[in-house]
């Protein structure tokens, strides 16, 4: 018994050693200055969309849309008119201004005024995520046989969306099928250029993807990476990339989980903000005075963010 316990201890220690700290020499902490809010509580944000006029839509708690007007400093929340049995995930705003989400795994819905469901399309297969590129929706189908295209693009109702970008799901030989599928769930951030950043939860890298699907992968120096097994079993997994935003100059802003201070509260969000040149060279990497959940806008050397406390705030690295 004692021998087994010893082996377990040794093995756990060895597993912990697999945690790869690339480098995270954060400089002095940058203050996060509240502007207005709160916009959301600690509920999970399952999707984000924005327009060019400073308006951001968040899918909160799977059942509400929160619209934040950064210019007017206004917040509006509407409940989605869906049954409580089927929560929504993913949020996509097309060029025509229409807003879409996934209801459950198999239904694509258009969100109308006051949270009304305007249109519904049954999907042939289960889906994990939904994003947008111009006039097309980007679908992430539930894919259990990697490698396969991570995203497919098509207009609403298109039964045969086409592979979009070079990003493919990755095999994980040592992991169960369900775990590999979970690690292949992709996220995409916002961009003010022609390239949109997308990433996997375990990688310190983003793929910058053009509307045409042309893709370039940018490794991100300085972000902490942990082993996939640890990521899958953590309550609050330390993700190298929690959010990414490309500003109008092509500078990539990355929000990373980092390591919270010892006395930090349990609020959601990342503690590190990094910036990279359009080619991926590290410009700066700084810790934050409080956790940040999303980068809502970045311009002129400063970022407007959503904090762990739900406030809209500003950060100037």
């Amino acid at each position: 018994m004692r021998r087994s316990a010893g082996i377990t201890l040794l093995a756990t220690a060895l597993a912990a050693c697999r945690t790869t700290v690339v480098r995270q020499a954060a400089e002095s902490a940058v203050p996060v200055a509240p502007l207005f809010g709160p916009a959301v509580s600690a509920e999970v944000i399952g999707g984000k969309a924005e327009d060019d006029e400073g308006r951001v839509w968040l899918l909160a708690g799977g059942s509400a849309i929160v619209r934040v007007d950064l210019e007017r400093r206004e917040i509006e929340r509407v409940a989605l008119r869906v049954s409580s049995a089927e929560l929504c995930w993913g949020l996509a705003r097309l060029a025509d201004g229409s807003l879409w989400t996934l209801k459950g795994r198999r239904t694509l819905v258009a969100i109308g005024e006051a949270g009304r469901i305007d249109r519904e399309f049954a999907l042939a297969t289960p889906h994990f995520g939904l994003f947008a590129s111009g006039e097309r929706l980007l679908y992430q189908a539930a894919e259990f046989t990697p490698p396969a295209p991570a995203l497919r693009a098509g207009i609403p109702g298109d039964e045969h969306p086409r592979p979009w970008s070079d990003v493919a799901t990755r095999p994980f030989a040592a992991l169960a099928r369900a775990s590999a599928a979970a690690l292949n769930m992709i996220s995409c951030g916002s961009s003010r250029t022609a390239e949109r950043p997308c990433w996997f939860p375990d990688e310190a890298a983003v793929s910058l993807i053009q509307a045409s699907g042309a893709t370039r992968r940018v490794p991100l120096e300085g972000l902490e990476v942990i082993a996939p097994e640890i990521l899958l079993t953590s309550d609050n997994p330390a993700r190298p990339v929690r959010d990414a935003y490309v500003d109008e100059r092509g500078v990539l802003w990355v929000l990373s989980s980092g390591r919270p201070p010892a006395d930090a509260s349990e609020r959601p969000g990342g503690w590190v903000l990094a910036r990279y040149s359009p080619r991926g060279a590290l410009i700066g990497l700084q810790s934050l005075t409080e956790p940040v959940r999303l980068i809502l806008r970045a311009s002129g050397g400063r970022a407007t963010v959503l904090t762990g406390a739900g406030m809209i705030a500003e950060v100037q690295p």
Partner: protein, 68 residues
């Protein structure tokens, strides 16, 4: 000896890498779901039940891995 090696490999694979409650709950639910699916008589229904278990697991961990 074999038992020790298997135990070590299981731990190294992260399956019991001291999960904290929420996502440990996802893993436990997956194991329970697989157990129930394995009891289904029909091969195809059993296969479909297993797939449902995996989809439920990914739903469970999605908010932690890709939620903001």
């Amino acid at each position: 000896m074999v038992k020790k090696i298997v135990l070590t490999l299981v731990v190294l694979s992260g399956v019991v890498a001291v999960p904290r409650p929420a996502m440990a709950g996802c893993t436990t639910a997956l194991a329970d779901c697989y157990t129930a699916a394995a009891k289904v008589d029909s091969f195809w229904y059993r296969w479909a039940s297993g797939l449902d278990c995996e989809l439920d697991f990914t739903d469970c961990v999605r908010s932690k891995l890709t939620g903001r």
